[in-house]
Symmetry: C2
Subunit: 154 residues, 2 copies
DNA sequence: GTGGATGCAAAGAATTTGCAACCAA
DNA sequence: TTGGTTGCAAATTCTTTGCATCCAC
């Protein structure tokens, strides 16, 4: 299997993710590296199916994508995001600042929001006795291009 | 079909939801009323399957539950919430304050957080040109009971 | 009476699993 | 060499759809 995408083998983010894989006791296989490169290259949440579309030409099965992503999520290399319709996307998080998204409910474009006013609330949750606290925050709306020409319903 | 749950027909929240149904041009059927009562009675997000388990004895089909919930969501009677594993829950929102949840990733217990520091950010999103802006924020963690006896990993 | 809603069954998506072959360590 | 991984196929689970019947209005 040849390796797709423009991310090089010595890419620091890739190296870091590979290190996490190894530390977790996993093997660094070609499908995993290929999927990691796709995740790193796409600087936004991506669908399982989209990942598969880019690796299947290299003989990587859909089941393998599911299994790899599940492992990445467990290790903390990716995190799961949600579309308002309930479908899941996955985003590479290693070495990236914590942030949130604005998702257009019309064209599904994803933008980042760098401000996070929520971190403080995690302490509140911690104080309620919760451990391993995390949060997910997504904004949904209709982006400018999509609402152009349409009546503003809000 | 007899009507389940402890919610009475003259319950104000039920009345309000029924009004929204009618205003949206939908009919007030027995399955819909039964599902609404279950949603109102359960003061937390609930799974489609759980709803079905409580109405199927009254002859309400799973497909009907899906169709009703989809209609309720469109009208704004319920909203979709997410579990960290990607599954969807639905919560009755009519007449209830905007709030968020703490979900135990272990026992899946759901608690409410009444503070919402996020509303202000919606303006920011609006200023970026987005319309019909909404957001979803969920906290995940391991609750006190679940982590008791286990080492604190965080 | 009439069109929207339902039950049933079947189709379609999304995700998981079993297992022999494979390959990273 | 050897056990973790993969590809393939099949099984599950989740969700949607078609259609005749039903019932809210």
């Amino acid at each position: 299997m040849s390796i797709p995408e423009e991310i090089r083998d010595d890419d620091p983010l890739l190296q870091q993710a590979v290190g996490m894989l190894k530390k977790a006791g996993h093997r660094v296989t070609q499908p995993r590296v290929a999927i990691l490169k796709i995740l790193i290259h796409k600087k936004a949440p991506i669908k399982i199916e989209d990942i598969h579309n880019r690796v299947k030409k290299h003989n990587c099965d859909l089941a393998t994508v599911y299994r790899c992503i599940a492992a990445f999520e467990r290790i903390g290399i990716v995190r799961r995001c949600f579309f308002p319709d309930g479908s899941s996307l996955f985003e590479f998080v290693v070495g990236r600042e914590h942030h949130h998204h604005i998702i257009c409910t019309c064209c599904q474009k994803v933008e980042n929001i760098d401000v996070c006013v929520v971190d403080g609330l995690e302490r509140l949750v911690h104080n309620r006795g919760y451990r391993n606290v995390s949060h997910m925050l997504e904004f949904f709306g209709v982006c400018e291009e999509c609402s152009r020409g349409k009546p503003d319903e809000n």
